[in-house]
Symmetry: C2
Subunit: 482 residues, 2 copies
């Protein structure tokens, strides 16, 4: 165990040196023997350090020459500029485009770079099955009974226990379980708003949010998210002067699609700003556990002294999407949220909640998350490199610190929805930028998921995508000619 | 097997004779030996006939004297008159009363005559656990993957197969699975209506319906249900002349709380009436499988030639409420219902749908239903008798042909909500009539559930209830005095 800790520490130091430019591409690293001596660690630990760095795509082994720092993809990147836009409140209407993008999914041969999920092979199937069976056996009703309205108490206890990690001290009675995070968001929105109200959201953001807004007849006000810094709080403050915002719905940790992380300090600043105006914040924290750094980012809820933050999350992105186990911590709006649940769902499914509770209780969840985060971080680096190598110069790729998606800015002349159609013909699905806002402002962006380990097949697909982008203007011309 | 068939046939003939008055209370029945000779069956079969009739409370054995027809509870009963009322469209507001009634449930010592569910001991826990485990093992993802939008295909195949029993020839593609029947109703209502629209519903009806209507901001028009004949179609036809009805939501088979069954002929008549006006019918068929007769009642859907009937159901009342596995067959409104599901739930939980599909496939469901129906029928007779013996003369009890609730009309001077409070003090929960309509018109009715086998404890509780009713006026006076 000590060894593992040691090699991770040393690898992290190397990583830092690379990212800060202390080590440059092409630099030769000390031999394994040398490293072992310098760091006072065993040979096998020193070797593991280099394997780790190699897996992450930071260094490469050259036959008979040793280890070298790789050419860094970061060199071709730069930050995305915030888009300038008018503080319009727009009724959403991207429903049709989203339906088009996701209608094609059933094709089995499809390489699904559009699918924003860690792939099934990263999930602890056998252990989760075990948790299901253990929890069924423990229950005299086989978990066939109606669960209490507020949700399985064992699960709520575990969520409360984990809330320490996000900087909170939640108790089980603060929590209401739901049918996935989506239902949590809907209950919170319904508790806070009436049809016609305006809700501030991230831009770009997950298109599922638009569906929800559309279904509740709400207007959205899109607040720019910067891929590095996250939400533009200054912009929000400014538009609040002129527009009546009933609630905010943000994804402060690893926004989908940008992967942006709002720092703890800026989270505090956001909560503070909303507190002065008494505007509730629905915090979608579904990606919060999928961080690549040393420490879990805090939640906005951690800075909430007034019960104005409604935190929503689920295990859909980290454990089992099909289980539909989610929850919200609605602060001062608990009674309203419970009322919505009583009216709509009566109760959440018993067997799935109990199985997830067992998975938490047995420590399987923490163990799984540690592995999952490591895998996702590695896949992030692999996909980024493959994209940087396959796409034309000038392409801008985000450097997410968590989650499982890359947000890629293409040449301004490229229409992502046309590119989506071209890629579909090659059996590759991507998510075109248009589905991440209400007004098509990201028409030259695409989102690809690195949720699955990078196989040769996927690498080839990324190459094909890159070629499509390169040849885009020619292809578009051919398609237009009779 | 032949024997079982025989004794059931003979017992049924006796039952018919009793209900038609050919055999009267106190009449002596032939001895077992005599019966065996008369019917040409073995002694053991003849004996089983009498055990069956005794279990149903129809006959009694007197020591050294043989078998006699019991005093029939039916004698104190009569049909409920339809209430006369104005065709008012009322915004619902019973939310608070319902919350009061069901807030008290957590008390462990409570005798829950209010709980409208077959009790857990009637459920096939071990076999359902087995189905869960089998289906988990068969899935490479441990059923952790997102299910397709329309729902688990194996489950939809099984539902389609069973639809023959309700007179339909549904195909899997006609079906959309949901999170329980409640979600199915909500999706259908949302697909058909806008806030402010009027929906015709049963009166009395399950209070969950009011919650749904309230949450969707719909008006309800209450159409009387006669405990024997079911929905008053003539009344409906009449109010349709003056009121714009956007949709109907009825429970044609074993309405909750009356247990009323609309005959197949009258179902056809209803569908025909609505067809001429192009008014869609949401058919809540959740109790349809729990019939006591020889044959499953047909569904309204069986007479639907235009896709205007949206059938909704689930396994919540017949197998596992906590599984939250429901479905709807939305006819021509399928795309709208799918759109609602895409917006709200994304997909239903995978493991529970797969487990129920397995439970159907293996034939376990049919087997279980046969046993369950038999138990419920017997419990119905037991509870009816206990109630008839405990309550004062003049009490009117329904004679349901399916389901698991009795609807009891008390003296007009009794306020059921006050009675509910008195019973709560004795640790007995009942459902007061007020929660089954929007205007308190059933204020002297109560609903009790016969979902649990009649134990001595429950029998005593019914006696206590009867005593409370008897002493009601005295008690009410005492409570009012300072």
């Amino acid at each position: 165990m000590e060894d593992q800790f040691l090699y991770e520490q040393i690898a992290a130091r190397f990583e830092q040196q690379v990212s800060e430019g202390v080590l440059s591409p092409g630099d030769k690293l000390p031999s394994v023997r040398m490293l072992s001596r310098e760091q006072g660690v065993s040979l096998s630990t020193a070797y593991k350090v280099y394997v780790e760095l190699e897996n992450k795509g930071l260094i490469e082994a050259r036959t008979r020459s040793g280890y070298f720092v790789r050419k860094r993809y970061q060199e071709t990147r730069q930050s995305l500029p915030c888009q300038v836009m008018l503080p319009d409140t727009t009724p959403v209407n991207v429903d049709e485009m989203i339906a088009t993008v996701f209608r094609h999914i059933p094709n089995e041969h499809m390489i699904r770079l559009s699918q924003a999920l860690p792939s099934a092979e990263l999930m602890p199937v056998a252990k989760l099955n075990k948790s299901m069976m253990e929890s069924l056996r423990k229950s005299t009703s086989g978990n066939g009974h109606y669960e209490v309205l507020q949700g399985n108490i064992a699960l709520r206890r575990q969520i409360a226990k984990h809330s320490i990690n996000w900087g909170c001290a939640i108790v089980p009675d603060d929590i209401v379980t739901t049918h996935g995070c989506m239902e949590a968001l809907i209950f919170c929105l319904r508790a806070l708003t009436k049809p016609g109200d305006t809700v501030a959201i991230d831009s770009p953001t997950y298109f599922g949010i638009f569906n929800v807004m559309l279904s509740l007849d709400l207007k959205v006000l899109e607040i720019p998210v910067h891929p590095t810094d996250g939400l533009d709080i200054g912009y929000l403050e400014q538009v609040m002067e002129t527009t009546a915002i009933k609630a905010c719905l943000f994804v402060p940790s690893f926004n989908n699609p940008t992967g942006a992380l709002l720092s703890d300090t800026r989270k505090q600043q956001l909560v503070e700003l909303l507190r002065t105006r008494e505007i509730p914040l629905i915090e979608d924290d579904i990606y919060g556990d999928l961080y690549f750094g040393r420490k879990r980012p805090l939640s906005c809820k951690a800075f909430d002294t007034e019960g104005l933050v409604l935190l929503c999350s689920s295990v859909s992105k980290s454990l089992a999407p099909g289980y539909r186990v989610g929850w919200c911590i609605p602060g001062r709006f608990k009674e309203e949220v419970l009322r919505m649940k009583r009216m709509h769902t009566v109760s959440s499914a018993t067997p799935t909640q109990a199985a997830v509770a067992n998975f938490f209780e047995t420590g399987r969840y923490d163990l799984h998350l540690r592995k999952l985060r490591k895998m996702l971080h590695m896949q992030c680096l692999h996909y980024t490199e493959a994209t940087a190598n396959s796409f034309p110069p000038g392409t801008i790729i985000t450097a997410p610190q968590g989650g499982y998606v890359l947000w890629i800015e293409l040449d301004a002349g490229i229409d992502a929805f046309s590119l989506f159609r071209m890629a579909m013909e090659k059996d590759i699905s991507i998510a075109p930028g248009q589905v991440f806002s209400t007004d098509g402002r990201f028409s030259n962006f695409i989102r690809i998921s690195f949720g699955a380990p990078l196989t040769t097949e996927i690498r080839n697909s990324i190459q094909i995508l890159g070629d499509l982008v390169r040849d885009y203007n020619t292809m578009a011309l051919i398609q237009k000619s009779p």
